[in-house]
């Protein structure tokens, strides 16, 4: 466990109902600075819904979501608009890739910079030196991020023309462009083969360690999860059923029964 590290995200008793269905049921979870935390559980356990609540896409039925930005004020973000959440410093990727398909790779990343820049309409028309400077900075930042995820040489390609794995990495780069302190990744390895997954593994670790960005990760690929996460939460039917280190989780009978199955991690 991250020793005495500052908490970044603190979720208390989060509940989300869809009509009669309780998709998330009193889940409590926290993420600290410099941590990589995983959230696993069977299909339909409510993991993505949990993300959606935290990032403001859904307004949770009950519970509290608190953020403590490293250099800012702590605040409750229940029901806050997604763009505000992102501005505060939590960015995400999507389970079903949601890139801006008909924009170039670089533009996708530049959108991530939107909330960190402030050119106005008039500014855009007049193109003052300040605006030009900001634009240049956006491009540069975008490039350096693309380099980090290995996409710099396809920067002018349309996002839709990228191979799947590259699209996943682009999503990560786009999220990082918002300068988050916490990155939420929803099944980043889905649809990747073991080789690609391995590269992804390295990328995530690098982001976590080198950039000092904390990571909360949903994933079904146990090899990846066990490899990189420091702590794991397990959900089933909307409830949290376990939490602990990879070792603890791997051997937790409840988790084995609900999720891993026998010989789980070779999947």
């Amino acid at each position: 466990m991250a020793e005495a590290a500052a908490k970044l995200l603190e979720v208390r008793e989060l509940t989300m109902d869809f009509g009669g269905l309780r998709a998330v049921d009193s889940v409590t979870l926290e993420v600290c600075e410099n941590e990589i935390v995983a959230l696993i559980g069977p299909n339909g356990a409510g993991k993505t819904t949990f993300f959606n609540c935290v990032t403001g896409i859904y307004k949770p039925t009950r519970g509290e979501i608190l953020v403590h930005p490293p250099n800012g004020q702590s605040r409750k973000i229940n029901g806050m608009k997604p763009n505000r959440v992102t501005e505060i410093g939590m960015a995400r990727t999507f389970q079903n890739i949601r890139l801006f398909q008909n924009m170039t790779v670089l533009e996708n990343v530049m959108i991530g910079r939107h909330c960190r820049t402030n050119t106005s309409i008039l500014g855009a028309i007049l193109r003052s030196p300040k605006v030009l400077g900001e634009e240049r900075e956006t491009v540069e930042k975008g490039y350096s991020l693309l380099e980090k995820v290995g996409l710099a040489d396809v920067a002018d390609e349309f996002a839709k023309n990228l191979p799947y794995g590259a699209q996943r990495r682009l999503e990560i780069a786009r999220a990082m462009a918002t300068d988050p302190f916490l990155l939420l990744l929803d099944e980043p390895a889905a649809g990747m083969n073991p080789q690609e997954t391995k590269e992804l593994d390295e990328l995530i670790v690098r982001i976590g360690k080198e950039e000092g960005i904390a990571i909360l990760l949903i994933e079904h690929d146990m090899k990846l999860v066990m490899n990189i996460s420091e702590r794991i939460y397990v959900m089933e039917y909307g409830k949290k059923i376990a939490q602990g280190s990879p070792q603890e989780i791997r051997t937790n009978p409840k988790v084995i029964e609900a999720y891993l199955g026998e010989g789980g991690d070779d999947a």
Binding site: L21, G41, P42, N43, G44, A45, Q95, P163, Y164, G165, E187, A190, G191, M192, N193, P194, Q195, E196, T197, K198, H220, M222, A258, Y259, L260, G261, E262, G264, D265, D266, A267
Partner: protein, 235 residues
């Protein structure tokens, strides 16, 4: 049973398949593995007439089927479980299953098959009146396979059945595929990212890269092939 002779398939101006040839024999499980975007899904879509190849030929039981419209190919018994499951979201589980048997007329046999798949996946029997769109990923995958079985496939095409599923479910799915192959004697053509498991299950395998078949061998051989090991098994 199935013979594909150097087909070329395009999306608009993008060539996704470049001279792909392969064969599947009666009763076999054959797997096609390859990286993302290699063209595996496209291969299946070409077989089913959804994205017909521009050139080359596809023979099913000796007869050419390229250029036939999709519904005619389904009629011949070539049934696909598509990538992403594609459950009809606003139909109940039962209706989804009935759609699988859309081209069949014999009510009695359909009823029989309904019971058969519900035995195979008891959870579906429990959920029979729930809307397909509200099922969890694993349930949807089972429903998708069952829906295909409802068509009495001669050749079952499976596209990444393990995608996005929990480990425990993946195991179940693979067990069931094996069972279908053994008990119903259904020929299976399996597309997978999860090369390890797929090769363990299959008799033979093809490796696809950038729209071309680059390797073809028995599954056992592929499992020990060095290239495959490093590129697809992540070892």
């Amino acid at each position: 049973m199935l013979k594909v002779n150097s087909i070329n398939t395009f999306y608009g101006n993008i060539q996704a398949l470049k001279g792909v040839s392969l064969e599947v024999h009666e009763g076999e499980i054959v797997t096609l593995i390859g990286a993302n975007g290699a063209g595996k899904t496209t291969t299946l879509m070409s077989l089913c007439g959804i994205v017909p190849p521009r050139s080359g030929e596809i023979l099913f039981q000796g007869k050419p089927i390229h250029g036939l419209p999709g519904d005619k190919i389904v009629e011949l018994g070539v049934i696909q479980v598509p990538e992403g499951r594609r459950i009809f979201p606003n139909m109940t589980v039962l209706e989804n299953l009935e759609m699988g048997a859309y081209l069949r007329k014999n009510k009695l046999l359909i009823k029989q098959d309904l019971n058969m798949v519900m035995d195979l996946f008891p959870i579906l029997a429990q959920r029979r009146n729930q809307l397909g769109g509200t099922l969890s990923g694993g349930e949807q995958q089972m429903l998708a396979i069952s829906r295909a079985l409802m068509a009495r496939p001669r050749l079952l095409l499976l596209d990444e059945p393990s995608l996005g599923l929990a480990p425990i479910i993946i195991q179940q799915i693979f067990d069931i595929i094996r069972k279908i192959n053994r008990e119903n004697n259904t020929t299976i053509f399996l597309v997978e990212q999860n090369a390890n498991q797929a090769l363990k299950l299959a008799h033979r395998g093809y490796v696809m890269e950038n729209g071309r078949i680059t390797l073809a061998d028995s599954a056992a051989n592929l499992l020990t092939n060095e290239e495959v090991k490093t590129a697809y098994l992540g070892i």
